[in-house]
């Protein structure tokens, strides 16, 4: 359906363009005056008045059609007394019958009726969709064609419209942020209506079980996220222990010691490391590093969990090595050459210059790079989902199994997502915490780096 409507729109805008062009030529000939802009601008004007209303109709149909039809079908559904219905399952069943995915025989009569209703509504919606697109395009073209007079300044108007489009494009980023903030806050508020915020932030018991049946008393969920935060912190510390020295030393070597040729080879290789999808690192952690950590733990007499914080953290460290090394490389390179030369000039050797002059000078930038890397590590999902555990565990031992914020978000949202229980909503509360912390780290890091840059400019 939507493919053919795109064809329809394409045909519409093409013909409106042709129409606009010939119309303005005709009009100016009739009046015997030259038009104020080139004919193409008038054509574009008609085209825009044709295209944008049509697009609005198109998207509102695409977004709302299914929901409206479903609401009508459900509200007209002939409920049988006494039977219990799950709305989602019921809808899925009606849709399947309507689309001939599952055979109608064996289904109850009310579902078959509803499916017929559903199909007929779909048909009505399709027909009215096509007619309304055609009508709206005609109306748009009609409105625009009234303005097609030689004295009308089409070019100015077009350029104004283009400005509006560009402003819309740049505000998408703002809409995205607003969308993120509002969806997180809205769902989190629903979560905190059921679970107190103090319990969430300060309690150490995380048992996100909710009663499956009504009246079930055995499982009363408790949502204290401290063990999750602690696990995230532990994995992050392990990752930074791997990435900070390796990344920084690599950056120092590349910036200060390596020849041009080595830089040319190593930098793209590190970029490969940075471009590898995180799920690949997860696989690596799962099949190589975790068994190794377990064997290593056994050899020194520690019983390591197969989903230890150490394995996940080490691989995550590898993932952020290129991140740290490229940022630190930039920072070290932007230390002014005069500092280097002054230090070498009074007889310091290279290592001393680096340790006593360059690193202190570059320190703010390096700290900024580390903060960005930390925010990366905290928000990283796939490595920990595959290689770390799902059970919360308040521990400082990296050989033990821990869980992280991102893992808990995934765990809460895999499977059936009913948005009325705190278990699902907890994902949004955890997401809010994650968002706030990473945003905070980023703002600080960017500030530090910016100030550092300004100092040497």
């Amino acid at each position: 359906m939507f493919f053919w409507s795109l064809v329809l729109i394409a045909v519409g805008i093409f013909s409106s363009f042709i129409y606009g062009r010939s119309r303005i030529k005709l009009n100016s000939k009739k009046q015997g005056t030259k038009s104020k802009s080139l004919p193409n601008y008038y054509a574009q004007y008609v085209l825009m008045w044709c295209l944008f209303p049509a697009l609005i109709v198109y998207f509102s149909w695409a977004i709302f059609q299914e929901q409206i039809i479903q609401n009508i079908v459900i509200s007209n559904f002939e409920y049988i007394e006494g039977a219990v219905y799950n709305e989602g399952l019921l809808l899925a069943e009606i849709r399947n019958v309507a689309n001939n995915l599952s055979f109608a025989d064996g289904k109850s009569i009310e579902i078959i009726n509803a499916a017929a209703h559903y199909s007929s509504l779909r048909q009505i919606s399709q027909i009215s969709f096509y007619t309304s697109i055609i009508i709206i395009m005609l109306l748009g073209a009609l409105y625009a064609s009234q303005k097609l007079k030689p004295e009308f300044h089409a070019q100015h108007t077009i350029e104004k419209y283009i400005q509006y489009i560009l402003i819309f494009c740049s505000s998408v980023a703002i809409f995205t942020t607003i969308g993120i903030v509002f969806s997180l806050i809205f769902e989190s508020l629903r979560f905190f209506a059921e679970v107190s915020i103090f319990e969430f932030l300060f309690s150490t018991e995380w048992y996100p079980f909710i009663p499956i049946r009504e009246g079930q008393t055995a499982a009363e969920g408790s949502f204290g996220a401290v063990p999750i935060f602690a696990g995230t912190f532990l994995v992050m510390v392990v990752a930074m222990c791997v990435a900070a020295p390796l990344g920084l030393l690599t950056a120092i070597y590349l910036a200060e010691y390596a020849s041009q040729r080595v830089r040319k080879i190593v930098k793209p290789l590190l970029e490969i490391l940075a471009g590898i999808p995180t799920i690949v690192y997860g696989f690596f952690a799962f099949v190589s590093v975790a068994p190794f950590v377990k064997a290593f733990g056994q050899s020194i007499g520690i019983d390591a969990s197969p989903t230890s914080a150490l394995a996940a953290g080490m691989v995550m460290g590898v993932m952020i090595i290129p991140f740290i090394s490229s940022l630190s490389d930039d920072v070290i390179n932007s230390v002014p050459q005069s500092l280097r030369e002054a230090s070498l000039g009074i007889g310091a050797n290279k290592a001393e210059t680096i340790k006593k002059v360059i690193l202190p000078a570059a320190l703010p930038g390096i700290v900024g790079a580390f903060l960005l890397a930390i925010s990366r590590a905290i928000g990283e999902t796939m490595i920990v989902v595959v290689a770390a555990g799902t059970a919360p565990n308040l521990t400082g031992n990296p050989f033990e199994n821990v869980t992280t914020v991102t893992v808990q978000i995934v765990v809460a949202l895999i499977g059936d997502q009913e948005f009325d229980n705190p278990r699902t909503l907890s994902a949004f509360a955890l997401g809010l915490v994650l968002f706030v912390i990473t945003l905070f780290l980023n703002i600080i890091a960017l500030q530090i780096v910016k100030r550092y840059r300004e100092r040497y400019e």
């Binding site: 819309f168 995205t176 969806s183 990344g247 995180t278 799920i279 905290i378 960017l446």
Partner: protein
Amino acid sequence: MNNSIAKEKIVSLRKKRSLEDMRFKYYGFTAMCLSLAVLVFLLYTIFSKGYTAFQKTIVLLEVDYNQEVLKLTPDSSDEDMEKGKFFRVKKQAIENFFPDLSKSDIKLVKKLFSINVDKEIKDYFLDNPEVINTKQQIWVTAHSDVDQLLKGNSRRDVPEDRRKLNDIQLSYVDQLVEENRVKQVFNNFFFTKADSRHPEIAGVAGSFMGSLFTLFTVFILSFPIAIGASVYLEEFAPKNRITELIEVNISNLAAVPSIVFGLLGLGVLLNVFGLPRSTPLVGGSVLALMTLPTIIIACRASLKAVPPSIKEGALAVGATKTQAVFHHVVPLALPGTLTGTIIGLAQALGETAPLIMIGMIAFIPNIPTGLTEPSAALPVQIYLWVESAERGFQEKSAAAIMVILIFLFMMNAIAVFLRNRFERKW
């Protein structure tokens, strides 16, 4: 006397200092080598675990296409042939697979074959209807357990109760190997089939198509929006609070964890707008929002690289600002923006977490054909296979990683090619 001691001290100090210098240099060198060694080890792990997935094990099976068993006649119509009783033919073939099988043995033999064998027997017959009432030797797919055993991925020296195949089945497999009734061939299923519960017939075709559709959506949404946004910010935007806000916003969005974008997709696109779950349309929209900052930053850099003299020249001969920008600056910056977009797409291709959030993790056993159909995506498929308990899926996940890495490599190669071919030095 004093002098020579002082000299000695200086010499030893200098030695110490230059040693320190050397040591520091080697620390850096070792760190760099370690990082690269991890990369090599990672690629080696993937290759060594994954290359076996490109082969499958097939077994020679003698099938008797008896017309009575099939309930067909040589002149049945095509439609009737579809309905032939092929499962009975298969049952018979398995019963006669080895001479003198008891009932319990037949059950064990049956487990050596893939679930797909019924279909293979049927397809062979539909392709060659003349084989009715003859006995045919057909190569059919073996069960994943046999496959893994012959590839050496599962071990036979563990106790029987911890093995998938018991001792009798092992002896059957050995007998097959001895009689040359089993061999390994190229695994076409891996490239032509979608996901399956059975490792031997699971493939990446479905998730690959899903990823393509997702990337298409990302491109359609993010490329025009990114160009619009960067042209506005670079060329038109007045220097004021709002512009600054937008810029800060973009740089902060670039660092928001991808999983948060997944929550955005779930909370807004699925729950508020009611877009269809698990579809490339929603996945692509979320990833487009995620990659937008990356692409915008690249676009702005390439717009900045166009010398102002070009715009000024256009303005001088009477073009309006819009004309100067869209007729002269943007076309010159286009190769750079395309390169940036491809790099953004490569990032989107490997992204897993947001797709899980919007339900692209569902088990989809067929190949998607459109943007609004439920589908899987390559990285999510890898995740599903990594998490799967079945041993046969591990090599599949490594092989799927190879596919995605090759894909990524190609995209980056195209980006580099574009940059080298079209980038102008002013």
